[in-house]
Symmetry: C2
Subunit: 112 residues, 2 copies
DNA sequence: TTGACGTGCAACCGATGGTTGCGTTCAAGC
DNA sequence: GCTTGAACGCAACCATCGGTTGCACGTCAA
């Protein structure tokens, strides 16, 4: 229980550049290392490494077309990642609620 | 728009050790570098560094008692972080839904 | 064929997560 | 008092990672 999300997915999403890459890939419906690097403050090689990481955890998949390597978001895997993130958030939210309730109970006890 | 979440909060939460530390601090209602390291596969010094990071982004706060330095989760800041995470997830979810709808429309178009 | 574009590979650099080792402080014992 | 031990901080060190530059390899087009 607790944070059962795959650490690979977390660290893949945890990096700000990778997050923006996913954003771009989602809005543009895919892209290459070159096209992505043109919209990011990092070099093509850095983007290529990140694409390798994202590919490693299955968040994107590649299709080679001539001299281009086009990457697209794997919707199924990405949906899974989002669902897991959502689950963690729900857990944390619940804990905050519990702490809040306990704090209120103590507060009430003090007033007695 | 897009991922407007503070990168500091993301990277703080993105690290697996820090996530587990937050888990422990929430369930135990606080702890020291030593008590946390006993429940984690890393040394006290590593935990201390992470506590420094978490303190830097305001997710925890310290109280010195004798020779102990007790850390507790800052509920307000933590709630803010959770809310921001939630917002990003909502955004991504919406994008997935849009893509899904478009895909279905194309599918229908093909069938005509 | 030649040139330009897109990639991949390798070396290098700085930051970071992690370790070990040592010094310091403070509570508690004799 | 003094000493012991627990909790901490600081410093050096190592591996990994995000990022860069430089270069070599394919591939499409003139």
């Amino acid at each position: 229980m607790s944070t059962t999300i795959d650490d690979g997915l977390w660290s893949a999403i945890g990096d700000p550049t990778r997050r923006r890459m996913l954003d771009l890939l989602l809005t543009d419906g895919g892209g290459t290392a070159t096209t992505l690097s043109e919209q990011l403050p990092v070099t093509r090689q850095a983007v290529a490494k990140h694409l390798g990481v994202l590919d490693g955890v299955g968040l994107v998949h590649v299709t080679t077309a001539g001299r281009e390597r086009r990457y697209e978001v794997d919707e199924v895997q990405f949906a899974r990642a989002v669902a897991q993130l959502s689950a963690v958030i729900t857990t944390w939210d619940a804990r905050l609620q519990r702490i809040k309730r306990i704090a209120e109970r103590i507060q009430r006890g003090k007033q007695d």
